[in-house]
Subunit: 339 residues, 2 copies
Amino acid sequence: FFHNKLHNSVFLKTNWDKEYVGFATLPNQIHRNSVKKGFEFTLMVIGESGLGKSTLVNSLFLTDLYKDRKVLNAEGRLSQTVGITQKTVCIEEKGVKLKLNLVDTQGYGDTLNNQYSYKGISDYIDCQFEQYRKEEVGLERRHIRDNRVHCCLYFISPFGHGLRPLDVECMQALQDKVNIIPVLAKADCLTRDEVNKKKNRILSEIDEYMLKIYQFPDCESDEDEEFRRQDIEIKKSVPFAVIGSNKVVDINGRKVRVRVYPWGVVEVENPDHSDFVHLRNMLVRTHMQDLKDMTHDTHYERYRSQWLYKHQHTDEVGTSHTVTHTHTIFYSVHCFPLN
Amino acid sequence: FFHNKLHNSVFLKTNWDKEYVGFATLPNQIHRNSVKKGFEFTLMVIGESGLGKSTLVNSLFLTDLYKDRKVLNAEGRLSQTVGITQKTVCIEEKGVKLKLNLVDTQGYGDTLNNQYSYKGISDYIDCQFEQYRKEEVGLERRHIRDNRVHCCLYFISPFGHGLRPLDVECMQALQDKVNIIPVLAKADCLTRDEVNKKKNRILSEIDEYMLKIYQFPDCESDEDEEFRRQDIEIKKSVPFAVIGSNKVVDINGRKVRVRVYPWGVVEVENPDHSDFVHLRNMLVRTHMQDLKDMTHDTHYERYRSQWLYKHQHTDEVGTSHTVTHTHTIFYSVHCFPLN
């Protein structure tokens, strides 16, 4: 209590004065706490090499995550399986800390036989769920590391006539484990017409194959006009046609990320040139928490209940002692949700 | 003789007058004959779907070969094997007829497992050699259909970091059968810097894997300045960074093939924008005959001698009669080269 009072002294004081019970400060407390603790977000990028995954992430978070990257040559890639690497970068903006974990899938779709390219990715996601589950039922729960993948940007080649077989297979394998957000990569090689056609084709194929991509929540009725307009723009942009760049130039005093062609200059953040800003707004400014909630409430819960079901079944054949134990865990987690 | 006289009367007349023997007219006769017969050329295009193969061919020959094309969706492509289609178009320009056979490789690199994508292509090329060989040793040799592949444009993705494993494997499988000309596809998504880097990387990988691509013959010393300049330009451009377009607009009265982006207009035939003109000059204006000669003298001869060697060996175990027969063929063909 003393510890709490110390930190919330300002709020408590005002509230004592007005003789409130005080629970109105709870949102503020959560706000303060979250700022103090900082945020954590895990983003996965999937797509063939060369589709600009690294460049886009650098552009999104204004960092340079890939300074010491080594690109393998064809021989290296022949024998290579999909390698999953995780990098962490801490970004601070106006006192708010974001710990960004970036999970990259190098070599995906790169080998001669891509039949099992997505198997390793699927295993990785499960592995993070399992780690979280173990920590969640353990003794020390205050510092659970959360490496669960909250969002997966799936890069679709602008050259495909819609989705490729590998895209369909991979999305089907991952759709119940992670929030998939499809992006149309390197959109600077597509004219406006082509972008629209590809988007329509991709959307109709997503429909046809019943692929489950991340569904944006409906906009709350009490949001302001600007937010609602932005929300509509974001929803309309799926799959986001994106352009990334590591080249920053100075145009009339403002720093702009560009790609310079002999026939013109592409500005990454110009909404007439690409959906980059919509994707960034969505990911960072408006839907980050929803992506985390979806991960915890839907994908992780699915994993956990499957785990429980599987272990219950195994144990019914074995000893009845363990069954009771499993039930206890199930109960306790439901009583004390962690988020 | 009468037939000849009728056709070459103009040349014969002048030559009789000057009391020449007349063989100086041979080049002219060949010229006249070839114009009368017309030219035949078979071009193969290999590359993942979506790399602009059809569009480039349309742009090169100013035709529309692909009006009734149907693009398969992901499901269709999952089960699909590489389908080889051949189309023929006759083009006439200033009285010279060109019969252009276009061999397309649909579905290449498109399936989940691409391990044997190039097998069908290799078989196709052999099949054309075999057909030619059979006709060549047959009775009626005046109208041999020549469907041998004279040139293969190999489309390299602009998104690969150099060559992909599939590219290397495929080129290795085809390099002794056909003249491979590598092109860097859809170069309008690469800045000038990126084009240069990719080209260097591709060339050094071609070197590293000892891939045999088409070697341009040295320029004859008696060619004029303009031709030599153009020849240097062409050789420097390999692998040709190309852009194709089916969209023709009118710019200041001249018809231009373009791609219209929000940030600028790409002109296909502008040498500052791509190597398209160099590729077209090479293919149509300067090196078409050399490509045909290389096919006949090197690739086809290799096929034929392998065939002879194989059948000689088989037959030594069997009857000696057939061996003699094979030898006769070998001899006769060498005495009467067809070209």
